[in-house]
Symmetry: C2
Subunit: 641 residues, 2 copies
């Protein structure tokens, strides 16, 4: 599709395209006002976000800023050089929240913390409490581990959000001073800048593009491009962990630390959008395809190794040791959304949907007070929990507290990721109750998704003089749907679906209605045979939701001796009493009788007589809701024989 040269800036949100951004689509303005995600955002706004300042105080983050500002005394607190980013991500989340409601209390917290950040900044623009307080101001000597530019990146993102949400520039001024400082220090050989380097943890790159979008200052875009292309040249150790093993443009698959890879790729997508760099776009598309086809868990979770938080090898997707960091799910949404806008293709929003409802949301407790850092797909019977950040039990705050404020900022800005517009009309990427508008087009959507498959759209604004297209994503998991539009009715056999988009071009008028009915029959899913971890297993899914068994619903035993009977029908049961109200899936299975093998659990293949075991009714709950009751085992993938 052609880019929309004459478009005004897209709505305030994490990705605000300018008139020259070369994307197929532009974010729409969305107001979410009821339903599944509205409830989660309310919990975020009423519980999670308000807890932030107290937690940042008790963990020492704010104390460090006061120390750096010279307004307090004591020792640096916190285990990592990047603890400032917990503050910045919370500020960003709070800013997106302020864009929606002007709570005086939240405003006061934000103002206070913005002032703290500004006061901690050094005269030349540098800001990093760890290096200022602990490392004697020894800057940019340890780019591999120091996280100085990573911190700068989160500061910039917070500042851009604060400016977009409130129109105020105190924090943006801090960010611009820091960015100008970074720009004065970093550059390629011959640039006259003293340091040719990158940060071991990408993040500043995508932030700099956004700062360019917010300020129009081209230097920030160029600096982002420089950083992206200098990864992979051994400037920070040459390992995949720091995204330094191979230049991004030459990479065949995603690798190394998942969050680092994904933040870098988000920047690469941003750069492709702003510069029209065709090679960089191709790289993005190639790596996204490789990642989803070979390194993505069913939940959309990313990461296969606890050790180094690594993507692992192709098809290496362990269940109990899945390292699906909540931050990686968030970064995946951020990257995929940029590609959805860049290319106009629906599959990127397919992955966003899957990630939001599963791999991401599992990271947040139902009450908004506790978190998971790692989101495994299995907790074994007899699990000995390690405790700490990598616990399979929800935790109030982490030693490395990257995920909670990251989840807060995604939830607070979630409306940004739901719909887009172009000159042809409006595209509905996600099914969320609310109002969607872009340019002259506006519709309202009403739905009880993901529990019900019906989504009713009503046109609210439409140009009178010409037809336009309402595009609705038909999810990749959907095998049957029906759509009623005026007097016409389509289903999956005859609907005008192109590449995942149902295209409804009409002379729309306000009040026109479209009713989409997505078939939500529960289904059993299997994996590519190269995913060794789930051979002989199936997972239960319904709509966008991945389901799991929890031990608490299957008393009288563990889960690891349970076999799913794939021949028996799956039944759906809505349980308003359970886990805040969920639809469960009831399946048939049996509890295998496993003979005592003595001391050695290996024996002749084919020797064990088939054993039907005791029948057992299996109650599957949405994966996102697991670990909100008592501790116990959990399984997404169930053996079928």
């Amino acid at each position: 599709m052609p880019r929309t040269r004459s478009a005004p800036p897209s709505p305030a949100g994490p990705v605000r395209l300018g008139p020259d951004s070369r994307t197929a689509l532009r974010p729409a303005a969305v107001a979410v006002d009821a339903g599944f995600w509205h409830d989660r955002r309310e919990t975020n706004a009423r519980v999670s976000l308000p807890q932030g300042p107290g937690l940042l105080e008790s963990a020492g983050n704010l104390h460090n800023l006061r120390l750096a500002a010279g307004t307090a005394e004591g020792e640096f607190r916190g285990a990592y050089p990047f603890v400032d980013t917990d503050v910045y991500k919370w500020l960003e989340a709070a800013a997106w929240q302020l864009a929606q409601d002007g709570s005086e209390e939240l405003t006061a917290h934000v103002d206070r913390i913005v002032s703290l950040v500004a006061a901690a900044q050094q005269p030349d623009g540098y800001l990093n409490t760890w290096f200022q307080l602990v490392k004697g101001g020894e800057r940019y000597q340890d780019l591999r581990w120091g996280h100085e530019l990573y911190c700068a990146g989160h500061l910039i993102q917070a500042a851009v959000a604060h400016h977009r949400a409130t129109g105020r520039s105190e924090l943006l001024d801090v960010a611009v001073r820091f960015a100008d400082h970074v720009d004065s220090v970093f550059g390629p050989p011959g640039s006259g800048r003293p340091v040719d380097g990158v940060d071991g943890h990408p993040e500043v790159e995508t932030a700099l593009v956004e700062l360019y979008r917010e300020t129009g200052e081209r230097r920030y875009l160029d600096l982002a491009g420089y950083f992206v292309d200098r990864h992979g040249h051994g400037l920070v150790g040459g390992e995949a962990y720091c995204q330094d093993r191979v230049p991004l443009r030459e990479a065949a698959n995603v690798e190394g630390h998942a969050v680092r890879q994904l933040y870098l790729l988000a920047a690469a997508a941003d750069l492709a959008a702003e510069t029209g760099d065709a090679e960089l776009r191709t790289v993005n598309e190639r790596l996204w395809q490789a990642m989803t086809a070979t390194k993505t868990h069913l939940t959309g979770g990313l990461g296969a190794h606890h050790d180094r938080e690594d993507f692992g090898d192709p098809y290496e997707l362990p269940n109990e040791r899945a390292y699906c960091e909540t931050c990686a799910a968030i970064a995946s949404v951020q990257w995929s959304w940029r590609l959805a806008l860049l290319t106009g293709e629906a599959r990127y929003s397919d992955l966003i949907e899957r990630t939001l409802y599963n791999g991401f949301l599992a990271g947040v407790s139902l009450d908004g007070e506790r978190w998971l850092y790692v989101n495994p797909l299995q907790v074994r019977d007899g699990h000995t929990d390690p405790g700490g950040d990598q616990s399979a039990r929800r935790t109030r705050w982490f030693r490395c507290a990257c995920c909670p404020p990251n989840a807060m900022r995604l939830l607070a800005s979630l409306e940004h990721y739901l719909a887009s517009g172009d000159e042809q009309g409006l595209q509905i990427h996600q099914f969320v109750t609310g109002r969607y508008s872009a340019g002259p087009y506006a519709v309202r959507a009403e739905t009880d998704y993901p529990w019900e498959g019906t989504v009713a759209f009503t046109v609210e604004e439409s140009p009178r003089d010409r037809p336009w297209t309402l595009s609705v994503r038909i999810p990749h998991w959907c095998r049957e749907f029906r759509v009623r539009c005026g007097s016409g009715t389509y289903d999956q056999t005859d609907a005008p679906v192109e590449g995942g988009w149902l295209r409804l071009e009409r002379d729309w008028a306000p009040g026109d209605r479209v009713v989409l009915e997505l078939g939500l029959e529960p289904r059993l899913t299997a994996a590519d045979p190269r995913v060794d971890a789930v051979r002989g297993c199936a997972a239960i899914e319904r709509g966008p939701l991945v389901y799991c068994l929890e031990q608490v619903d299957h008393l009288g035993g563990g889960l690891d001796d349970i076999v799913l009977d794939a021949t028996r029908p799956l039944a759906v049961k809505h349980r308003p009493d359970l886990l805040g109200g969920v639809t469960t899936v009831v399946a048939g299975g049996r509890r295998r009788r496993i003979p005592d093998a003595g001391w050695w659990p290996y024996g002749p293949a084919g020797d064990t007589a088939p054993d039907d075991g005791e029948p057992v009714e299996l109650t599957a709950v949405p994966y996102y809701a697991w670990a909100n009751r008592e501790d116990g085992s959990m399984r997404v993938w169930l053996p079928t024989s």
Copy 2:
């Protein structure tokens, strides 16, 4: 069985029982003089061991000792506080080698390094170059991570070996001074000792028992008992990693860092033997049973997590991320041998056999020059190797070089683990060509095991006045065997086998022969269904050997799309040209045609049409010999459908 109160000390070896040791069996004296293990020991003696001094020099270990002795200048070298142990383990290995041949060159190296160690010791007996040189002599302040007693333990073991092998006491004097120092510092509250603590890495405990056995000094035994029982009380952080989560006597399964757990258990078995502590014996038996039944890989390898080198949960036995540290295999042999002696049961030597031929031996290259630290059961197609210590490629020496000298000491003392005696006779635990003697009994064994199943025993010494029992372990994997003994012939249906022991009680006379023929038909092995990682898979085994596929033998594709046809017969092919001479197993399989799933590798269960794929002949090689040719993928467990 009753203990043998009147027995003389057992032969010089790593476990030398005294007259009061309460064990069912006592190590026999064995001289290995030909065959499979003899060849490996020759490589160890001629290649691996002689390289040690040069590697310890270039890695800085000897330099550190000179620094501590004040005879050199410079900085401490090495990445870890326990680098001294590389020296001690090499010294121990060299000592066991000196017990067998008196190479002047090796003697000279040993003498020189023993002098270095002695010179580095502080006047009060303390010795640890890291703490002396880097930490300003700040002793016992960081028992959790410091490894001071761990280093003491390896020093003591080296010293005991040196004394047993050479009769010389220079190193034993150093060890005794250090042990006396430790005994003056550590003790329970109220003991008058200043520190109540344990080392985060067990090792000193089993060393102290052996020092007691060597010197008769009871204080060392008591100190070992104190250390063993003070683990699990939160003195070093309270985590399983340091064996500090739960007291050993209360543990239900092995847990935490595998090597630490196993060294601690070896000490617990030693203590049970020396003190007759029945509870401690029960704990040993319970934990061994739990470990083998739920946390042991097919190869005998131990460890499921790269992160923290942890045992993982029950039945969590990943293939590509198996963390089967070579040191853990060695520690497992050490522990199991102590239990074999303590209880007289054959299953402990079943595990030793499996571990020696597979999980342990894979850690040593065929040429004796390179090593594996981690011994995975799979390397995927498309594997990106991390390099470093945890590489799936063999490495000349490691940053954390614990495994190579540990392997050297096991190989150099291997004869110690092969046979035992008691008042009733002689027990042959392993099938190795050589001479076996205990008390008045001696036999010679001749065999081409593990390639051939025939083992011929000839009685060489026998008391004339009474019958005695030649016991031969019938391996737990063995389904068919035949034994000819005088005029009698037995097979598995009628042989006098009790608990894994073939008991041949006769009026033996020198020259009497027993010929055992173990059936070595290759076999397919499956796992307990709770081992999720290998659901739907089988492994190829023959005799004690686990087999694997290597990509180099299956050109034209990778291994992860291969399916084993379990209905086709397995054929045996001896290949003197291959990998130093191995018997391969040839199996039938096919290369699956996997349809392109697009970007998402999950889809409706049952949707994929059966696809027979292209037939392919599979050549399986012994697992121990993998990674000795070109890089590529490898699999032990093969999908069968």
